[in-house]
Symmetry: C2
Subunit: 120 residues, 2 copies
Amino acid sequence: MIKAINIKDKLELIDELWTPKVIAELNGQQVKLAKIQGEFVWHDHKEEDELFYVLKGKLVMEFRDRKVDVNEGELIVVPKGEEHRPVTKEEVWILLFEPKTTKHTGEVKSDLTVDTPEEI
Amino acid sequence: MIKAINIKDKLELIDELWTPKVIAELNGQQVKLAKIQGEFVWHDHKEEDELFYVLKGKLVMEFRDRKVDVNEGELIVVPKGEEHRPVTKEEVWILLFEPKTTKHTGEVKSDLTVDTPEEI
């Protein structure tokens, strides 16, 4: 069924950090929401570019040779093969856009790894 | 170069209605911004699903058999092959996510058709 999806309503359903939830799918890509805080694991995605759009708070995207601030209302595209690690001081809410095949920790297995993100 | 893209700053660069501008690209998909007002042309995309995310205002997505309100902060995915027409009363700002190959008027040629959207 075709319907409007309310981002704020969906965010209210998320109570775990670092656990992306799928809210929409199109053309083999997924739109996900996540709440994050602290330091994620270093990883890359060999075949997939990944988009982070900051809905609330401020994210620092760390690369091996530099850091990029991504403030509320900004987005960043991390190209495939580029090692990265999202870091935040406070809780940050993000929208992700990436292929359905993308694992959020790449090939790195961590306590944070979620193999198949839940749909909400 | 990897950098943060500020949505509000990009929106300020847009002064024409119904003229999507490309702000990012990944995995063969593009992120576009557009300002729209009034009634668009009826069209579909044979092979491409299309995502509309309303940043400001209220959009009504008309289908042949129903209408769906898409309010500020909401998104809708229009499946491929589904005839649709965005309609707004006032000026509405949207973010689009769709394959690079998607033409905003589908196969319909109209005065509004933009063959190759500009990057901003």
